[in-house]
Symmetry: C2
Subunit: 380 residues, 2 copies
């Protein structure tokens, strides 16, 4: 391959070629007819811009679910690996969860995988993973899910309810299959080896519904084993939709990761000044070396991280986005100007997010224990 | 080796050479001075005949525990793999548990490893493993443990309380170590691979006490990994005492196993007639081909399963046992006569066991949920 990249549940490197990933993982491109059908069934009459802009671009069996889509035919299961504080890229699956809940009224299950992060991070202890889990839940709760239809759980707390299904999946998977799918080596630790089966287990929480997983395509290997075994266990094969990964500030194509230097990501608790500094100082643009050249040749939105962020997360309005594209492409808009647009957008977004975070704190007890769905889960 | 045998947690084959096993597993022979010290601290002033007769014959660090033995310096953890109904050999660890509790007032934790048996038995499902667990608990409860100092649990029920410690042990163990210790192969399933760490976890239930494991030496591999990691985790290394394995009816040296044909074992629910028939028809004796030869040459107690059962389980009185040995050895006692002694002993034992099983049924709720220790565990 001339363009080397790695995408696994635990590691993403290099510039990602999404077409190749579809082939590599054996998933299906999300085609227009499915999206048209989905849109026709929404309450608002409009697909989320993640769909409109092909940011969610690949799937497994999503067409089967869309066929009869309704709050009673599916629920959503997603999660967050609590390895530290969250950045804007981490919100993507939750944004799409919220959209589905608003449009269809579905149940949502959100796992905080403290066990996973403990297993894979050499230095992380369980108490710290728990602390991160609780902090991360505050960020996720900011999105304002329905407190009776949303269950958030820390996996080590909820293990009793999911352990048996983890056993069912793991009994049906040999070590050699697990090595092939997850790339386990002789030096991999045994907590890491078992974790995928814990992650699979909540795909069986509602027996007769489809379980929809919105996630980065890097999480796909988990669902392959689920899909090979679910029907034998009396459940439906998981449905997946895959979003592209939000790039670092350093260039379009890689995945934003909190393991990188702090300068490559926008954290949810970054101050206005920090956002401004990071965008101005570290963001890779599609601008030309000099203003003169820029005016003459125009910017290159396709390689511009600023444009990528506006398109992927911060400019919901398609016509405004198109206008920015045209202005930048033509050279009428400078890199400084497009940066200022993004800085303002991000800071507005974060301001609202942090207000909602405070406002929704009282809902957390409902999401975890006392809401209608949470209560049912706790009593399982 | 001229004498091939296999002893692992999941498989025992061939005639066991216990001296070789001590060397193979790297455990220590249980020497007289430790037993003398133990005896000096008992309430009754007398060691159990398992100790007196070298049936419990090997250990790890038992001397350290005996040094200051007292209900506050140790607790016992043992278990049962619920793969079907129980035979007399299965009672051995529980008999010694009961003895320790009577002599020292220690807490006892008894795990029913439904997850393990589900993982290793191809055809066993979790519901059936649960049913066996509940049936087996009735047999174990027949021994009459202290309801405030004994906790019996089914592992899939108690997993929340032990999962974190299972993660701690498993994070510290690489796949290659697990393969070396447990003999895992590429075709081993992933539920089986994780199970040892669940089994290890309850060795941390009482932080400042020794955890004593009475078990067959075939269970030793579990404790090696525990002992390598416990101190790093702030716990004491597990203490083990190893009993020899009760032979099948077919010959001294192998392990009684319910996986063999039903004719090789005495089950706890065998009727008087069944016991009589099994002993008379299937038990291997130390008798000679003809009565004449037997009278002339004498029997061979050392290879006689009947004598082995009397010595290992059914004749508590040392002088009576010696008398039987002498009579049989001299040829004055025939194989028919020694068989009749055993049949009577077993049937008396089973009669009492089954009466106690009914009598103690009401205690099960205490052992599992409402006794002092069980309650504390449930609220963990």
């Amino acid at each position: 391959m001339d363009n080397k990249f790695t995408v696994t549940p635990w590691e993403t490197n290099g510039k990602i070629d999404y077409e190749k990933l579809i082939k590599k993982f054996g998933t299906t491109k999300l085609e227009k007819d499915i999206l048209t059908k989905l849109e026709s069934k929404t309450k608002s009459g409009k697909n989320h811009f993640f769909f409109r802009r092909n940011f969610i671009y690949s799937h497994r069996d999503f067409d089967k679910m869309v066929e009869g889509i309704d709050k009673n035919n599916f629920y959503i299961y997603t999660g967050r690996g609590p390895s530290g504080k969250m950045h804007i890229g981490h919100l993507i699956p939750f944004i799409i969860c919220k959209w589905f809940q608003d449009e269809f009224g579905c149940n949502i299950y959100i796992a905080l995988s403290d066990d996973e992060k403990f297993a894979v991070k050499q230095k992380l202890d369980l108490n710290t993973a728990r602390k991160y889990s609780l902090e991360n839940i505050e960020e996720i709760a900011a999105l304002g899910f329905d407190p009776d239809k949303t269950f958030m759980f820390i996996e080590t707390d909820f293990i009793k309810q999911i352990y048996k299904q983890a056993l069912e999946f793991s009994k049906r998977t040999t070590l050699s299959t697990a090595k092939a799918v997850f790339g386990f080596k002789n030096e991999t630790n045994m907590a890491h080896l078992f974790y995928p089966f814990v992650q699979m287990a909540p795909t069986t929480l509602e027996k007769n519904k489809f379980c929809l997983i919105p996630a980065g395509i890097d999480q796909d290997p988990y669902w392959r084993i689920q899909r090979d075994n679910a029907e034998k266990l009396g459940f439906k094969k998981v449905i997946a939709i895959h979003n592209k990964l939000l790039s670092t500030l350093h260039g379009v194509g890689g995945k934003m990761s909190s393991s990188d230097s702090d300068n490559s990501t926008i954290n949810l608790d970054d101050s206005f000044e920090t956002v401004k500094k990071k965008i101005n100082k570290y963001a890779f643009t599609g601008g030309r070396p000099t203003l003169e050249e820029h005016r003459a040749l125009g910017g290159i939105p396709e390689i511009c991280v600023i444009y990528h962020y506006l398109e992927s997360l911060f400019e919901e309005d398609d016509s405004k986005l198109k206008n920015i594209y045209d202005e930048y492409k033509s050279g009428r808009m400078t890199s400084g100007e497009i940066k200022n647009i993004l800085i303002l957008k991000i800071n507005n977004y974060l301001k609202k997010h942090n207000e909602n975070k405070i406002k929704n704190k009282p809902l957390i007890e409902k999401y975890m224990h006392t809401g209608k769905l949470a209560k049912k889960m706790q009593e399982m």
